[in-house]
């Protein structure tokens, strides 16, 4: 049996198993229902959103076509803001840059980042003897469970509270009840100490404004504020596709992102342009006042440039990672994140084709029903079925 047959058989078995998992079914069903209600409420409360999404599409179109210039501009301005900017061609380059900044045996607190998942960054840093903590609650649960995210925004969508209590009781070595508030409070106490003792904070980014070098990070828990504000060093890892020309445009893209991620307004929007500084003593600018003294931004390619250069697939880079499409995908509704690895469901199969290669994405590519409901949901109207068809044709071509 060929490797592909084995892989497909294994993948199918896994999908089938997931489809029989009652915890998963219940959790996902609840999540879909509340997603649909929340997003509908958010849209009716902020009816300008769909027009704003249209603007965001135009901004993304422009940004992809001019990405090289935007990257250059952003890197320059980040340097002039007393940060340091890097470009990483692929996974290896990105990991090496982070490793070099971090060093060994450090404590690292980390915010949620799809790119970090793509790069297996946590594992790479742990191999160097570093202590790395996921601070997003969902990711923290998965870190302890040694599991992987099942939704890009709600990574632990598949873990019910009883199981969280079990995991926490074992980890904290005391009896913790399945009371959600108690569970949250345990993590809060534990991570608080980590934020203050950490040597490095790592975050992703939702949007980057090329003109000001400002990094925009949307969140609800407040963990990103702490990760990026308390440790003496802040490292941002971000995909090239997150660049837009101006700060004003970055805000438009950000608002569309959180609205379709079903928030009227998110708990926090972090905007960071460089290390913490003060001029309060004799107007002499000094870095590292209360926040980080060092600020690094690593722009990562890892297949994105190839996507950008191919007009058939460029639109996949418009993805804001709002996760809306997944809630509407009939296969995802049954299997959750088992339909994919890092990047999930239909759009995930397109991304996987570029960051890992089309052969690796084959089982996912054949999973898509091409029903097209994701396109209805997508604020960027990304035509996933069309791209999936084309990628299948690449698999079939001699």
């Amino acid at each position: 049996m060929s490797n592909f047959k084995k892989e497909l058989a294994e993948y199918t078995k896994n999908l089938n198993k997931a489809s029989q998992d009652e915890n998963l079914a219940q959790a996902v069903t609840r999540a879909i229902k509340s997603y649909r209600q929340n997003v509908e409420a958010a849209m009716s409360q902020y009816p300008h959103t769909s027009a704003l999404a249209e603007e965001a599409r135009a901004i993304k179109d422009y940004s992809m076509a001019n990405n090289k210039e935007l990257l250059e501009q952003a890197m320059q301005v980040i340097e002039s803001n007393h940060g340091q900017a890097f470009y990483a061609e692929d996974r290896e380059a990105a990991i090496n840059i982070v490793k070099k900044i971090v060093g060994k045996e450090k404590i690292i607190v980390k915010g949620k980042s799809m790119l970090a998942e793509e790069l297996d960054l946590r594992e790479a840093l742990q191999e160097e003897g570093n202590e790395v903590w996921e601070t997003d609650l969902g990711e923290f649960i998965l870190q302890l469970k040694n599991d992987r995210p099942m939704h890009i925004l709600a990574p632990s969508i598949h873990v019910p509270r009883e199981q969280v209590a079990e995991i926490f009781s074992k980890f904290f070595q005391k009896e913790i009840s399945a009371d959600i508030a108690e569970l949250v409070s345990e993590v809060r106490e534990f991570l608080r100490e980590k934020y203050f003792t950490a040597d490095v904070g790592i975050s992703g980014a939702n949007v980057v404004a090329a003109d000001t070098g400002q990094i925009v990070i949307i969140e609800n828990e407040g963990n990103v504020r702490l990760c990026t504000g308390l440790p003496p060093v802040h490292i941002v890892i971000v995909g090239l596709e997150k660049l837009v020309p101006t700060f004003q445009e970055a805000m438009k893209v950000a608002e569309v992102t959180w609205r379709y991620a079903n928030y009227g307004a998110p708990g926090y929007v972090n905007i960071i342009s460089g290390p913490s500084r003060t001029g309060d003593i004799e107007k002499v600018i000094t870095y590292g006042a209360h926040g980080p003294k060092e600020f690094y931004v690593i722009f990562v390619n890892n297949g994105r440039r190839a996507m950008m250069n191919d007009e058939n697939y460029r639109q996949a880079l418009h993805c804001l990672r709002c996760g809306g499409c997944m809630y509407e995908c009939p296969v995802f509704q049954v299997t959750a994140g088992h339909y994919g690895r890092t990047y999930l469901s239909g759009i995930g199969s397109v991304w996987t084709s570029f960051v890992e290669g089309v052969e690796s994405a084959a089982p996912m590519l054949y999973t898509c029903l091409r029903c097209g409901r994701c396109v209805e949901r997508c604020p960027m109207q990304i035509d996933v079925p069309k791209m999936v068809g084309r990628l299948r044709s690449e698999l079939a071509s001699d």
Binding site: M1, S2, F4, K5, L8, A9, E10, T12, K13, L15, N16, S19, E328, P330, V331, Q333, V334, T335, V358, E359, A362, Y366, T367, L369, R370, C371, G372, R373, V375, E376, G389, R390, L391, R392, S393, E394, L395, A396, S397, D398
Partner: protein
Amino acid sequence: MTTNKQIPSVLKLIRSNIIKYGNPLALNPRQNSSWVKDLDLPTKGEILFYTGGEYQLLPYLEPLLKTMTYIDPAGRAFSLLMQARKLVNIFGVAPEKIFAGMLAKDKERYNAINYKAAYILKKLGYDLCYDAQGEIYSGALLYELGFWQDLKSYAVRVAQAIRKTQAKTVVCLSPHAAEMFKHVYPQFEEFPELEVKTFVELVWEKRDKLSPIPTDSPVVIHDSCRLARDLGISKEIRDILDSVGVSYIEPIRNKEWTTCCGGPGKMLFPEISKIIAERRVNELTDTGASKALLACPYCLSSLEGGLKQDKPMVMEDLVEFIYRGVN
């Protein structure tokens, strides 16, 4: 880019059947056109009635799936892949052999949908032609599964088949075929210029001629993905029901937001496909309706398969339903 190595065997099988036999399941053309009976349709004319042999496939799908899924219950996923090669051989000779489990009444029912559709359109005043010998499958699966290289030569065959009939308009029973004629084939050079219509649209244009259809309770509509999203046809179905005096209910997701029946996943992921179908059936039964209307052969087959044993609901093709109003 690598080659066929990354293509699941079952999809290769479907591909070779389409290319070799002009039909995904290698059914013979004579059998595909047996529905036509006394309708007396000329082989040439302005409006071509196009079945693409798709409703004719349906009775074979479920038994095929059962064969493929349950030959080796100890390792379903493996058997699905391993058995495909054997099926090629069986298919080439007599595909019917493996369909011992097929129900005669299903075959009769699905075949009759072609007859009823043509009958309705004739009654509404459309002069149809139909080429029993020359009609071949639309090639939709070649397109959807990514066999785009094959599609180039297949398009030529489809074009020839259409040209032979001298038709200016093609009326498709399957939305998948309509998508091919409307959105895919026009991209190919030398494909004949055609007006493409679905059965639903032609009925909609002359809906005033339909007689009222007495019903006891409202029906629920299931929109097909292709029809509602790719072809933008959903209001037409409602208009038709209004004009025959039938009240209808919408499920939680419908029109451009409709939920897929799971059909496209059947060949590779039959178990997931079935769960998706069952969930859609739940959305339909949640409305309280006891009958669902739909207008796509694959939705019909999938949702029939998604019904539980006690059959809480009747799945009916719009063709079958409207037939009552013209007879």
